[in-house]
Symmetry: C2
Subunit: 340 residues, 2 copies
Amino acid sequence: MAENVTLKQIAAELGVSAMTVSRALNNLDNVDKKTKKRIVEKARSMGYTPNRVAKSLVSKRTYTIGVVIPEISHAFFAQVVSGIENVLYETNYQLLLTNSAEKTAREKKALETLLAQQVDGILISCSEETEDFSLYKKIIDSGKPLVFFDRCIEGIGASTVSVDDRKGAREMTQHMIDHGYRKFAYLRGPEISIGKERLEGYRRALKENGIEIRENWIVQSGFKEKGGYEAMIQILESDSEIPRAVVAVNDPAAIGAIEAIEEYGYSVPEDIAICGFTDDIRARLLKCPLTTVVQPSESIGRKAAEKLIKVIENKNEPIENIELLTDLVIRKSCGCNKPV
Amino acid sequence: MAENVTLKQIAAELGVSAMTVSRALNNLDNVDKKTKKRIVEKARSMGYTPNRVAKSLVSKRTYTIGVVIPEISHAFFAQVVSGIENVLYETNYQLLLTNSAEKTAREKKALETLLAQQVDGILISCSEETEDFSLYKKIIDSGKPLVFFDRCIEGIGASTVSVDDRKGAREMTQHMIDHGYRKFAYLRGPEISIGKERLEGYRRALKENGIEIRENWIVQSGFKEKGGYEAMIQILESDSEIPRAVVAVNDPAAIGAIEAIEEYGYSVPEDIAICGFTDDIRARLLKCPLTTVVQPSESIGRKAAEKLIKVIENKNEPIENIELLTDLVIRKSCGCNKPV
DNA sequence: TTGTACGCGTTATCAA
DNA sequence: TTGATAACGCGTACAA
């Protein structure tokens, strides 16, 4: 295969030095107009493309951003990535995408590879499994720019971009309370930022309204359909009673739970009202459209990428915890247009 | 910030040469066991990470694959990327993701950047807009491994991985014909591979059954909801008659068309039956679930990545046009469980 | 205006 | 078993 054309080759063809070619092609200094013209034309005709690898080795900049997400095929993350990509396109950075598949080990490997690749910065949304933050800390302490998005670790020296999960969950729960529900269950996510924050929002809302918090109705569901399904079954079988309303950590979990509810012969929202979080693309299309909390996914990606680039380009950029606002989307699954 | 540790630094600490460190860390040759142990430990304690940029400069390999897709937030492509990512993870390649946003200009820039980055190979699904294949041809002719997926250009020297679109469209249309429909309209995509193939499948099916093909009911819709909506309106207003059945180039177009149909006071499938292509995540969830053709999106990504890696690692790898099979998913929108 | 020398971090090659 | 040297392609610094 035709090897890539190099500065040296162009120089040889033209009988000038490689340096002159470099200068001409980078619009630098004073290069004789005629020489420059010859060089530019020759470069084009030979199909020259600057070798970024060599450039990076010298400049210690790769103009590449590493992104670690827990699951690409999850629509929310796809949209976040889309937001990131748009910013990087505008700013001439490249996107190196890795997937942790929710596994700590895979996330670790991804981060190490990104560092080896000399990415200029890292955007990461933590895997569901990760409990040990020491690797994040090490990277941050080494001075490598890093920004968390969506599933963030605050207080370890990096900026974060997330939605105000606690507030969103609290408002959602409050909405259900306002409608008269009193017997609540909660499908909780793992012990990472958003899981914790949303549960806390749920707890607050109940507490503020003097409603009993049944700990055995706060069940671990993870972030996926299957976990939601299983957690819901656990609740339905745990007691002689069933909850009147369920708040789920996200839409996939809620969708799984609905399946369980219906398998047990109950209907949504007449017997059990339920709401989610995320506004999954499917939420509005369900037989009983899901009430949920919208997260501005594309904006999260944009903001995170913008912040990261600021950090990269200005070492004094302050650490920020950026919170975007959520909105409630009231559909049918919360039963708020029907009597309790 | 703490600069990255280099071989030289480790060597200096240990009083050996950089070369020995390199050998020890790469499990090469004969390195004294004790020396090796000392080196490995030192490397770990100093937090050494090999610099891939420097490695690449020497080896001319980056273990990086560039992917160009038309739209990340499109669920189908997100799944394809997921399939690609899985293969790359298993084979220790990295994924450089770019988005053409369906624009030729952006696609061109993406390809040039990927080449400058010295990716080992390229996976691309053509943008909707692209009509000039000379850049693809130039890249392929230069010997840079490239594999098309989903939206492919055949016959210009690169392998392709796609579904048998023509067959899928033909079967879908045949299914509607079997159910008794005779007055068909078609929402067509752009003039790229899959657009052409599906239209051809549609034409064949009608022809084989001796059904009239109304050219003014074959309308350009593009690949998105908005285009489908507008195309459908054009059909509904073009004539005193309306079609009894509509075959759409993909699900988003069909979804847009359904909106138009309903706005005009018709219902699906009673007045107008419709089917799509892709099995979008929303298809099954629509008020009237959409009959469609399933494409094995994740497999497309896997196969394309696997083929590309074979091409990279074996220069004699033959050019193939890999076709994956589609399946019909009969839901309600084709009206096949109701009288015509 | 143009050229030379050198270094970025790694590996291949040949010598010790 | 280990080391010295050169090379990958480019850009900085200095010299001509």
